[in-house]
């Protein structure tokens, strides 16, 4: 199996990538790790006429703290997100999500920017990044803009990225002390992709009450879904197992999950409650709650 023929450009700088993107527009696709795009091209589900390889563009990978946020370059491989000392220390929930993507080889090639831009509804990182309130830095020939995760993911494989834009980085606000985040995933037994998953960010008061909660679900719709009823049910409450279980039971409220041969909508609703509970409990523990 091999892709249809295409023209190939190895961009040497962001400026060059943007120039090429402007010149070839809809005929061109950006190439990062290639672990979504190349399989799709081999199956001829994607037949771009040109590929613009970002792989050699300097300055697009790595993890650093920038003010109140963690700045992650778009080309940072999943394996490097999973093993980054800063991420493991400050946002272990993000490292957890990166470490359950596919397998070792996939994590060595696939990139965080590619996963975000591809916006597969069964992907892991969009879910945890939505829970963490991340935003995405998009560069175009006319400058840069920053888009919040909620406004970025629109539907199945559809994002706010314009055809002339490159995603250059991800910004994740550093949680205050007394906060914890976690990710829990039910993987498909064959593909390893998400059947249902949940990401949670809990900010806990020293008294043990929940100051605020953000919970996002994967596999339930064309984009990561915020579990609004669960978040409201946690707000201001003591983070006891009973409160968490009751709040998590509302996770699928108002959702209309996508069904497939493996998981019915009803099954997904049930499972969403279980995985939301697990993610919230782990996040609350990381925030200092004894459960």
């Amino acid at each position: 199996m091999f892709p249809a023929s295409f023209g190939y450009f190895a961009a040497r700088s962001l400026e060059e990538a943007l120039e090429l993107l402007t010149e070839y527009g809809e005929d061109a696709k950006l190439l990062a790790g290639g672990h979504s795009l190349i399989p799709a091209m081999k199956l001829r589900l994607a037949t771009p006429r040109y590929l613009i390889d970002l792989g050699r563009v300097p300055g697009l990978s790595g993890v650093r703290i920038d003010g109140e946020a963690l700045a992650i370059g778009a080309l940072t491989a999943h394996a490097d997100v999973a093993s980054s000392a800063i991420i493991r220390q400050r946002l272990p929930g993000l490292a957890d999500a990166a470490s359950v993507i596919g397998d070792v080889q996939v994590r060595n090639r696939g990139t965080i920017g590619g996963s975000v831009a591809h916006a597969d509804p069964a992907a892991d990182l969009p879910v945890i990044l939505t829970a963490l309130g991340a935003s995405f830095v998009l560069a175009s020939p006319s400058g840069k803009r920053t888009v919040a995760a909620e406004d970025f993911f629109i539907d199945f494989y559809t994002t706010a990225l314009a055809p002339n834009e490159v995603l250059t980085g991800i910004r994740v606000p550093l949680p205050p002390s007394g906060a914890g985040a976690a990710y829990a995933k039910l993987p498909h037994p064959a593909s390893g992709y998400v059947v249902v998953s949940a990401g949670a960010l809990i900010i806990r008061q020293p008294s043990g009450q929940c100051a605020s909660a953000r919970v996002a679900l994967g596999g339930m719709a064309g984009r990561p879904l915020r579990a609004g009823a669960t978040e409201t049910a946690l707000q201001g409450k003591a983070l006891t197992p009973q409160v968490i279980a009751a709040a998590a039971a509302k996770a699928a409220e108002g959702s209309d999950p996508i069904e497939d041969a493996y998981a019915s909508a009803e099954y997904k609703r049930q499972v969403a409650a279980v995985y939301a509970r697990r993610a919230i409990e782990s996040a609350a523990k990381r925030a200092g709650q004894k459960i």
């Binding site: 091999f2 295409f6 190939y8 290639g34 397998d103 080889q105």
Partner: protein, 168 residues
């Protein structure tokens, strides 16, 4: 079609098992076919061709990757190791020895990929638990062995590599 940098083939420079290769390749050529058909390194196998089985696993700059899911042009400037390059001619890498000692293979189809993944694991974790070994092999499928002997082969190699590390 006339793009300013467009051409039918693209020059690449790749170091494979310590040997530098210059080649002109079609952009759609997959790295695994470059290795097998252009360089004749047929130790790297193609099992599924759909990124699932790991038979095509090689190292790019020291990291295990599935070479059926990489374009040869993406390997420009990269150092590659294949199963042929793990140990000097006539000798075996401890992981290869482990597979022989512990019967880590039957038909042998998955073996090169298994070994390349195992070597990558042991380079990052010199004493993995059984669970860590099994987790590391998630991207490698074997249809023969049931994995038990593969896990034992890797444990054998880990032990051998640790003791030779201590003695040297």
């Amino acid at each position: 079609m006339s793009g300013k940098m467009e051409r039918v083939t693209v020059p690449i420079n790749v170091t494979v098992n310590g040997v530098k290769h210059e080649a002109e390749v079609e952009p759609r050529l997959l790295l695994v076919y470059f290795l097998r058909e252009h360089l004749g390194l047929t130790g790297t196998h193609v099992g599924c061709d759909t990124s699932q089985c790991g038979a095509c696993t090689i190292h790019m700059n020291g990291r295990a990757v599935k070479s059926c899911t990489v374009l040869a042009v993406q390997a420009d400037g990269v150092k590659i190791t294949t199963i042929e390059g793990l140990a000097p001619e006539g000798t075996l890498h401890p992981v290869q020895e482990g597979f022989r000692e512990k019967h880590g293979l039957q038909c042998g189809y998955c073996t090169p990929g298994m070994i390349m993944t195992a070597v990558h694991l042991l380079e990052t974790n010199s004493s993995p638990t059984e669970e860590e070994i099994r987790h590391a092999l998630e991207g490698n499928l074997c249809r023969c062995t049931g994995y038990i002997h593969i896990v034992e082969a890797i444990q054998w190699a880990a032990q051998r590599m640790r003791s030779s590390h201590v003695s040297s």
